[in-house]
Symmetry: C2
């Protein structure tokens, strides 16, 4: 394999990049100014060293404690529980939530051998006990595993005198009834919102 | 920007990778063993240094002269003219052609200010004059620019007593008449092949 084929092979191992796209990307990089390749290489070399999970919430950060956990303007009575560190960025981008986060690090998935003890439920309980949290919003994905995990979290938290809620599930904005799947439609009926009488 | 955002930004500048895919790729790399990132970085750092165009045909190679130009088993009476270095790899993958290549380095595109003098027509003429070439197969893309370039090459070569041909254009194998565009259908009619009478 020459250098171009080696690079193509590496790119084709990334998610969502097939063999043809990988070849196109490798050639694009070869044709682009060398500084782009050097810069990308530098970013790759330092990525693991610079980024680590926040010891409090589990979100990705470059600092000792992440920007959200240390921000005095965040609402410290609200805690949003998510599956993955990247979910924090997604929710932050919506600008809808101004509380704190807690990353579980995955979902309960018995078939893959992942039980509650591998997720950060212990630290979740500790935080709810010790910090002045009024409401826990469970934002796991609307999947079977996400639902199971939400249910488990709800049970754990029910003993702690804290409000627990879950993100609404239903029709996506801009979507079309025609293209909604059965389960989504069921949930949008069950979670319907009264517009007054 | 933190390291993850910087890497996402770089990936989103590659062809065919949007912002969401770039974020997904960056997180995948962060979660994957560090050796993958280190290896990819090394490949990027050495790419431009290792790969250069073959001085004879213009294909990408790591050697002084490319493997095809130096292969004693190739048919040296056949020369395939392509637009880009990567076209050589595409044709090689088909295992249909066993002659030599000549990379033009692009197509004649007056609107982009690319005339014949910016392409390697001079060395093409020299090769046809000095090497024992019997047939030149023009394999530029079936686009307006590719057609113009093929026509120009044909004119240049017409004075040199060499057979000139062009790759057939028509319906792609496995395709469907219903989805063929008008121009492709026109070409497949004009280039129809007699099955006997």
């Amino acid at each position: 394999m020459n250098a171009l084929e080696e690079l193509t092979e590496s790119f084709s191992r990334l998610p969502g990049i097939g063999k043809k796209s990988a070849a196109r990307i490798a050639i694009h990089i070869l044709k682009t100014d060398e500084s782009f390749a050097q810069n990308l290489a530098q970013q790759l070399l330092t990525l693991h060293e610079r980024i680590h999970p926040c010891p409090i919430c589990g979100a990705y950060t470059e600092k000792d404690t992440c920007d959200i956990c240390t921000d005095p303007l965040r609402d410290r009575s609200l805690l949003c529980v998510v599956e993955q560190p990247q979910d924090v960025q997604t929710i932050e981008a919506s600008r809808e939530f101004h509380g704190l986060f807690h990353v579980l690090g995955g979902v309960i998935a018995p078939l893959e051998g992942i039980g509650p003890e591998q997720l950060s439920f212990n630290s979740l309980i500790e935080r709810v006990k010790n910090e002045n949290i009024q409401e826990v919003i469970i934002a796991t994905n609307p999947t079977i595993e996400g639902d199971t995990t939400a249910l488990y979290a709800q049970k754990l938290l029910s003993e702690l005198h804290v409000n627990v809620s879950r993100l609404a599930s239903g029709l996506p904005v801009g979507g079309d009834l025609e293209y909604a799947d059965k389960l989504t439609l069921q949930r949008s009926f069950r979670g319907r919102i009264s517009l007054g009488s």
